[in-house]
Every structure is written in C-alpha cells, then in structure tokens.
Symmetry: C2
Subunit: 251 residues, 2 copies
Amino acid sequence: MVDNATPAIILVEPQLGENIGTAARAMMNCGLSDLRLVEPRDGWPSEPAVAASSGAERILEDARLYGSTAAALEGLHRVYATTARPRDMNKPVLGPREAGPAMRRAEAAGERNGILFGKESKGLHNDDIVLAGTIIEARLNPAHTSLNLAQAVLLVGWEWWMAGPVETPAAEPEATVEKGDAPALQTDLLNMFEHLEGALDEAGHFFPAEKRPVMARNLRNIFHRANLTDSEVRGLRGVIESLVRRPRRRR
Amino acid sequence: MVDNATPAIILVEPQLGENIGTAARAMMNCGLSDLRLVEPRDGWPSEPAVAASSGAERILEDARLYGSTAAALEGLHRVYATTARPRDMNKPVLGPREAGPAMRRAEAAGERNGILFGKESKGLHNDDIVLAGTIIEARLNPAHTSLNLAQAVLLVGWEWWMAGPVETPAAEPEATVEKGDAPALQTDLLNMFEHLEGALDEAGHFFPAEKRPVMARNLRNIFHRANLTDSEVRGLRGVIESLVRRPRRRR
C-alpha cells in the first residue's frame, strides 16, 4: 500500500527494468512506497524489474505511470532533483544528509515531498531540474561521482530514514507559509507558469526566440525558490490576468 | 592503484559477477579501492562484473582472490562483519553511521580496517562473523532489512566517506593499545587461536565433541573483543606454550 506521507520516488525515463526493480528494493529497505515512473524506456510492467525487486514486488504493482515529469508531480508540495554534478541552476543545493531532515520537516508541516532521478546514461534533463525547488547532490569521490540509479535512490532513502520523524517543523528560512495558508501544489505552480509564459508569448516578451527556454527557466526558478503558498499562486494568477487585460502600450 | 590506508571490502563467496561489478562501482564512488574476493561462485575474472562496474574496472583488475575468509584478512588490524539481522554473537554491534567514524579513528591510529560482506542468498556464515571484532548492522525497515550486496557496500562506504579523515584517534574505551605497541594483525590472532585450540584438542578440553564449534567460537569472541596488541598476542602464545609443556595432571 502506498504511504502518502513518505517521499515519492520519481524515476524519469529509466532505461533498464532491472534498475527499477533494485530501486524498488532500496525503497522498501528505507520504508518508502510511492514509486512513480515517467516513460520507462522498455515499457511497463517489466519482467526484469520484478526479477530484481526481491521482495518489493508490491511497490512495483502500486507504481504509477506518467507521460511527463510535470504530470508525475501530482499531489506534491516540494520537489527535489538529484544530480551527480553541479548544474548551472539558481537553486539551493543540499547533500543527501541535509535533504533527509529537510524532507522530514516538510512532512511534519503536512507537505509531501518528491524526488526526481534521471535516466541511467545522463541523469535529469535541465527541463526536469527546473521543476524542482531544490537540488540534491551527493558529494562523492570527485573522480567518480556517477551513482547507479538504485544506489542513488538508496542514499537519499537512507538519509531520509536515518533522519527519523520530527515532531514539529523547525523554523526554516525557506518556510514562508503563514498560518492557515497551505503550501502550493506543484501542479498549480506549473499551471501558473504556463499561464504567465503564454501571456508573455503573446506580448512578444521572449526575444530573440532562441532565448525563450533559458529566459523561461530563469523566471521559473525565481518562483520555485520562493516556496509559494496556495493563496500566493492564486494571487499571482490574478496579477497575470490583470496585466494581460491592461491595454498594451505601443513599443 | 590500491590505497592501503582505506578499508578493505571483502566479499565472501559472492554469487553474481554483476554484483561484484556494482560493488566495485560503489567503492569507487566512496573513494575505496581495496577489493578482496573469497571464492566467488562463478570464478574470476568475470565478464558480468566488468560490464556492471561502469568505470571501476581498475578496482576489479586490482582485486585479490583468496581461498578462505581468514586468508583474506592479511594486513588488517580490525575486522567488521555486516549482517542484516541480529546474530547470537557476543560482539559489539554498530550501525553504519557509527562504524564510519570508528574506522576513521582506527586509521588515524595506523590500523587497517576490513569489512566482510556475505553471499547474496544468506549473508555471512557464523564462522566468518567469528573472525570479526565488530558487527555492522543497518537498522532499516524491519519488514525488509536485506540489502542487495552492492547496496550494502555503498551504505558502509558512504558512511566512511562522510565521516571524513580524523586528525588524531579519539580516546575510545576499545583503544587499549599502549604507546609503542602496535595493534595485532588479524592473521597473527588467527594463528594464536589455532595454537590454542590445537592444544585444547590434545588436552581433551572440547567435550562433548559436537560442542567444539560453539566452545571455540565463544573463546575466540573473547579475544576479538579484547583488541589485542602485537606483543599481547606473542605473550599469549608464550602462555599457551608454557601450559602445554607443564606436566598434565590425571583427571
């Protein structure tokens, strides 16, 4: 049975069924159960996954399949992206040891965490990392930082497990949620981005066109970092709406 | 190149070459290089091991092969046995998080550590665990404590890596080595046991005969716990010698 309080493990385009199976086994070891798969290369369900899961078949049976990373964020409040090397992204970077307690504190505040893991060959796309508020990077042997997929799941799971439940969320600089206001769901945030970027497209904001991806990414990173609440997202959508309706000035 | 200061990873009768390869990769991630193999089931060298090692081929090339667990302890001063469940052994038990700093302190004192990992299907034999002074047991999800072999190597390696080098060995209750006296090598300790048990065999000490294994094991555990120094082992061998030479009283 999927435990909806524990972090979701989101494997983005995993290539080998076997690695999905060993990842499920590592999840089981660490008391995790919510497995989400984004476009596994060899299809789903997978015989090699079951063969490698060694007692964690239940997690595979309960796994949910998604057509995009964004869709796989349903029901989550905080998203972490795992990377083996520093990426040029303006986001906070935690080691697994710091990420464990951070996720526990978010849980104590009623928020759900999800952790993105990229494909075996190259890790996460930058477009996936943009979806995350925080990067998790294990500072391993600099000569060999690339972890096997299931090993990465184990390290992050182990540190979450070892952090143990916390009674109350500690006051964190990042915890900007006021009393009575719920943290924003990631899917609502993504809808807001699309709203905003659609409006900016119409306004001819993204110029030259080839700079659109990086301009949009930088914009999204700002809002990810802000840890928006539910009502803030609604407020911002109202702001976008108002700006769009305002008569445009000629350039 | 094998780094002789870092912990040796000793895989006892590993069954799948692939797991040896992923274990080597995990070692490389954590800055470990001394891999020792005791009777790998499918022989050595192993094609599946190389295929799974993903950049850690060098560790596999440098791996040393042994015919027994005892032989694989050459050059080591402290031996740790990894287990997934509590064993009925009178030995200190550490979690990986405590074992990491303990190994670092031993290194700072000039001692070499080795960690035993059992075969995939059942873990270590009790006879192998007897060879260790300390047990490492990861307290994972009680419903599913059994880790994949390479995952176990990663957890212990990760905690060693995260503990970081220590400048000076901290005063530990277990550190009984006096100034100027080196810690005993495990192979010298094993020779002493054989000397002692041979003498006890001749004296008819092990009675009834079927209790010999457990009686010998309990005896060995006492000396393992004592963390003997080099000169203490030599002293004890003298004691055994003297007792053997002493005219025996009739029973």
